[in-house]
Symmetry: D3
Subunit: 339 residues, 6 copies
């Protein structure tokens, strides 16, 4: 199985532990981005993952390659050039203090890249699945077009296409997103997201649910998925379901709607180390599961367990392996020491 993902990877900078930004003189430096996170998840589970992006031809671009390659992601299709690598700053919240993210991603190499930077024919040779998120087309007009081009190429080669909505209000307005994303949905087989993204981008709203209370309405999610499926003809729709008790404790679950059936995973009450990248870890695990032909119920349980564990991992990448996920799926939440 070979999955291709396309998007931006950035330098992520955060103070250690629960310090605030610039409270101490050091920052932890890692690399992350929605589609890169998905690629790392998939490579981590043992499948082939190719990440397509453009990075500057300097020590930052080199470090991106080194990092991804270390995780086993194929970086042979990464274009080099352009001005800069996008950067984002993370200040992790705790208890009643929310996490904060500051983006400094304008004018990045990928945002200013052109169709010529990528050889989609080569990229998709032998590939089975193409994944991107709503962030990629939001980065620039160029990228929206390249996304569409890539989607078309993928479909023409018989790949399955998935998209994580990932609506970012700082990148574009709801109406811009709606317009561009609706067009791209034509190529998409599996839609992944959460209810807020679906509401922001496609105007579908959740009935009978109170997110801030942590109470989730199974029926509401199912209806939402059905609406989207009816509108865009998806093969499946998957939602990660988060109940935010505080910055420290969250409930976490997910739904996969396929063949007019909604499959819900168990709900986990999570103590959080770092929740940035959790949605991507849900997408990555789900794609792996679906591409591995897991039954829908098992697929969503796998995706939720994988992303549940992500919350306990520092930084964006979900470094968790298959065995850990399977043990959790089998119901062992005890956290007993493995010797």
């Amino acid at each position: 199985m070979k999955v291709v993902t396309f998007g931006e990877i950035m330098l992520r900078l955060n103070p250690s532990g629960f310090f605030q930004l610039f409270q101490r003189g050091e920052l932890e430096a890692s690399f992350a981005g929605s589609e890169a996170n998905v690629a790392v998840s998939i490579a981590n589970y043992g499948a082939d993952a190719t990440f397509v992006t453009k990075v500057p031809d300097n020590a930052l671009g080199d470090a991106v390659i080194r990092e991804l390659r270390g995780y086993g992601v194929d970086t042979s299709q990464v274009a080099k050039g352009g001005k800069r690598l996008g950067i984002y700053f993370v200040e992790r919240g705790y208890s009643h203090r929310p996490s904060k993210v500051i983006y400094d991603r304008e004018n990045s190499a990928i945002a200013e890249s052109s169709l010529d930077d990528y050889n989609w024919d080569q990229v998709f040779s032998d590939a089975d699945w193409f994944h991107f998120s709503g962030i990629t087309p939001a980065l620039s007009k160029n990228l929206a077009e390249i996304c569409e081009f890539a989607c078309r190429a993928a479909k023409s080669k018989g790949l399955i296409v998935s998209c994580d909505l990932n609506y970012r209000a700082k990148l574009w307005s709801r109406s811009e997103a709606a317009k561009t994303m609706s067009k791209l949905m034509e190529y998409v087989d599996y839609l992944i997201g959460n209810e807020a993204d679906a509401s922001d981008v496609f105007g579908v709203s959740l009935r009978d649910s109170d997110v801030t209370s942590g109470e989730l309405s199974k029926e509401g999610y199912k209806i939402m998925a059905k609406e989207l499926t009816d509108r865009f003809g998806f093969v499946g729709v998957a939602f990660s379901l988060r109940g935010s008790i505080s910055a420290t404790i969250n409930d976490w679950s997910g739904m996969l709607y396929v063949d007019e059936q909604a499959h819900f995973a168990p709900k986990y009450r999570i103590h959080i180390v770092d929740r940035i990248g959790a949605g991507d870890s849900f997408a990555g695990a789900l794609i792996y599961a679906l591409a591995s032909s897991y039954a829908p119920q098992r697929a969503v349980c796998f995706a939720v367990a994988a992303s549940c564990l992500k919350h306990s991992i520092e930084h964006d990448f979900n470094r968790v392996g298959l065995l850990d996920i399977e043990r959790l799926m089998e119901g062992d939440k005890s956290g007993r020491v493995q010797r």
Copy 2:
């Protein structure tokens, strides 16, 4: 609005995370002290804050100035000289292990300072509010006298005066505290503290309350505040209310008694990063709120929300801004990531 605070600032040394003192070879170094913490809070909210103290004329004194000035606190009235900067060591507790504080503050520059070190006339020009805590007069006989002198000067210039009881058994006995503090209460408009301090210093005791169980009696606090108001003629009395479940989890609330009315803030169940300085953050936010003419209910809610957030911040200073506090006051405890 301009607030003046007067007290000691010390070098705070603590091992990182939840290591014990001297378990590792490094200590985190910051600067803190009850009244300095209050000044930083107020400057942080955008008001003018002047901190009056005395620090030694060496690299430690210079670092104090640099730190406070960075937060926007006016340090032009800081005296320089004397022998040393007080120091305290903090070992943060976790779960059933309590936090521990070791003070090494004797013979500090401020404790041995004299009336000549301060120009109260200049200090109070254009000022609206004067704040000190019970620690300042406890440090030395000199300081008790200087405190009284400063209070008198403040009142004569029409400033509002507030005092945080902050009883420290290692600095003086209850009877010494009672005697000195009672005299100073003559000048105080707003008394701030918690029930243990009020009991230790003024012998008032809380009825119908079991602190260790975390159960708090609203009526008891009101009676206590009334008693104190009757005795000393305060404009208002504010208590922070803590229910200690463990070193990791606390309940936190507060009351402001003014015009014979007790206003209670909502109670927050907090996961704790660092609770040292939380009381000061309550005082600082309350003074800001009162000096900004917030209604009593809003003032105490602001103070409790601000100090609730302080528990999630490393070290003494409450680095939290107005927006974060207001969002929490509006009920958003979800800790959702702000992008």
Copy 3:
């Protein structure tokens, strides 16, 4: 009172906080091992503790001596020589992600040591108690024999002998353990362990209990202890009782069965910093309590409170002192700051 413990001490390597192994470029280095942990606990409480082991004659062996000696453990009986110091890697879990331990302890100096390396006559002069765990005889045939020799020498000198079962499936099979341990039980006065170890080694199983649910059956533990006492003629049997909610939250208690009576300590719900070494801290505190002639009920309460606190301490050694334990035994779980 003088307690002798005999076993392996290893270099422990773990990433800081909740990072995964080799996620960052640094590892925290400490030294630990079941019987060394027990010796440190006992020295910490002010009693004499002698630790017998063999370490290589290089910078690692020197550091072991320096570390133990610092805690006041008598290292005069430590043999020097052999090839290497055992090593183990710890990755601390969080929430649903379990802690993991990787051992690299084969061919260690102690595992390859011989009877000639130790002078038991000298070791036991003036000693009152001898303690070892099931790890020591599991390390090599030599060590099983040396253990028996030491037990015999201890009994002949009138020492009390205790053993913590500590079954390690990676070191030997259940049947090997059963055979060797059963023989050693002949010399043992106090058996310490948990129900899983007892079940693995002696085939006794707990009735009416569901460990993963955290529900513990008092009666079941008592029956188990009685069975073991009947079989091996122990003076007492002690179990630590753990209910694993997650890698972050555990319930913790313990039972001491002596004179046909089962004494249970209160149960603590613990937030965990580092649980490795908790069982050893239970054993160390229990031995101290019994050797100090605490009544059974007080002894088990002391051991459970001490080991409850260990969960809040970084690394294996329980650095907690008598005062902290006693305060917790008296019921103060509030974690209030001690100034």
Copy 4:
């Protein structure tokens, strides 16, 4: 004395010690920029320094203010807004491995700022000296114009104007620099730089000198300064003189040409901790010395001693105080411990 400087301040990120970029997972974060460095030097010596810039209205901009304010620099004239703070990455060299700097400064708040962002009238009230470097006009067309506007305003208010050439080939071509800088020289009283900058920007070349060999020709520098003075009518020209033996060892001196006299400071052979910002520390100290009416010989000796010491300081800012500089000027290079 009050000095105003105008320019960009950036987030500086470097790995600790002599690690290469992204070799470890942490970066040291500080803030720096040529003119900010100059302002910090001057504030450090006890004079008034106002730094004019524009920073984004987020946690990065706030941290810039906090840092500069801490050093006593007046930040009341800093504009807030725009997209981003410029960033640069430093990899410190050692021995034969050169230091490397990667800039990521395009589209910074200041580069995209407009004349309206600054109130030069207010900025220059009570000021005595205006300083900028060649980096500021190189950042954007806007800034070149704002620089000229500021120069004109400064001169009209009777301020002395100084400029550090600081040619950056990545920001503009030599011919662009020559054109813009020549125009700005009209307002400049003191030109500061090194021979390479003068050669790059104004095409003057050093005769009889071999920089790579570390041999410096005093006569050549004097001629160069005379040429520049004749062309632009400067009051004075100052060069820092560096002989690069390796990334670890440098020779360092300087010349001040004024009234047709060249004054040379002694040459120091330096072991280097961090040389980034050394040129700015030379400029800052020289401006302080000249504005304090030091005689030319003493002024250049002060500037060279100050910047010699900068090489031993981590990060850009020269944190060295007057006493240390004076002791070095008096000839004490012994580095004996000061107790």
Copy 5:
């Protein structure tokens, strides 16, 4: 060009900076080994490098793969299994204090590996060069045989074979080394080493040289190389030449003897960050140069410049790129900042 190297890779642990082992509670963790270091150098220069080894199937083995793969080394031929990864501890010297290395490498996965673990046919397909060092056959009898098997396979496929003598007295005696290595020399085209290794293993001794004085006799090295070439029929012999002034300052050069001509590189006086791995960086660069058909003089200059720079890099791997080496070869030792 594709180079295959075969040998052990270990976990390297060292305290940061110039602390002694276990003086602080942290160790820097990296991975290194002579032939792995060579592979990383070659991959770093842009050529294909395959590293063959065996690592345990646990988190340590995974981290080895991740690290090497990050640097672009092909790890597809790494066998997984066995008991453990070898470990070594480094304490870096400074001034008169020498660096110290403690090995803990017995019973490693590779040392206990068998011929079946490697598929040399597959390994050498499309390969041009095979490299190993004297450490590999010294690790175990198995490995000596596997080495010979691999050499034979390499020669039969027409590969060039190189060997770095790397005599380790702790692994085998001189006579054992002489016997085994002499046999392996039959397959070796290029011998790499230093004079001490050649003397230890082959009993050839340097005339007219006093290593401790740092004075090196060019003629002596040439005679030594000729002797070895005459005895074993090498195509070439290369020596790295080190003059040890202290642990902080070394002279460094090298010689390549080929076609009866001795080519010497310039000598560099180096300030040292970390010299472990320098010899491997010499070998790696030399192999790259020779495989790239550099003329002998250029090849040795490249190898010496590359390894000169390695001394300024933390840990074993030479992370330096082609551009840096070429600039140094062109004579720029100035260490000027590259912006």
Copy 6:
């Protein structure tokens, strides 16, 4: 052999590497003091060392005991009580920037201790040597008297007494020092110091020497030692001889004058990691050598080699062992890696 030393031990705080004080938010914490440093050196060489002091009965005092005990120093004679542990701050210099030490040692437990705190009879039982430095009597009047009492007790028991002058201008004036120290010299057999101390305390001045130039006059030191010997009747006088090139490079040697003969050690040119404690390491090694009956020439060579190596060790304690010193004495300055 058993050596007793008596003096203050303090908490030492310094920023890592070459950062300035409070430039970063962490400080390295260790424990040190002249006589404690001497005791650690002696214990390190394998002899018995007892350190007598008084430390507060809190976590700082406990950590002192743990640290010293770890190094094998007998701490059974350490008194507990008093107010505080002295503290000192170190900022390490580099190149032309001098190291700086800020003391905060007033009112320490030892400074305020009384004769009753020490049992000299017990302290000196079985002891051979008593050592103190000029710091101890300078700390307080009490301590000057206790020192004299201890000296008398030591002499009456037949111990050899040594004193390191260690003049500290911040603790007392030259005339106070002269008066007190002259009286104590009556009991002293070996005087240790440097020429500056001898000049400050006893008014003897070095002829024919220019310390700042690094040129040392052997004859001058001999005359100085003879003068002191004639005046006080010493058995021997030892000087450490330092030539301060810069804060980074020093020359280091020493002289032992005994039986009217001056024995000089070779001079080492040292690159410095941390020179604080170097004088103590000279004294410690000299005492060990003399108490071990080394011939004078060997003794001073041993002391100089030991203290040469100390300059390469972080923090005060000289952690270097006998083997390293002997290798250096034998002339190996090459710093070659020891594997």
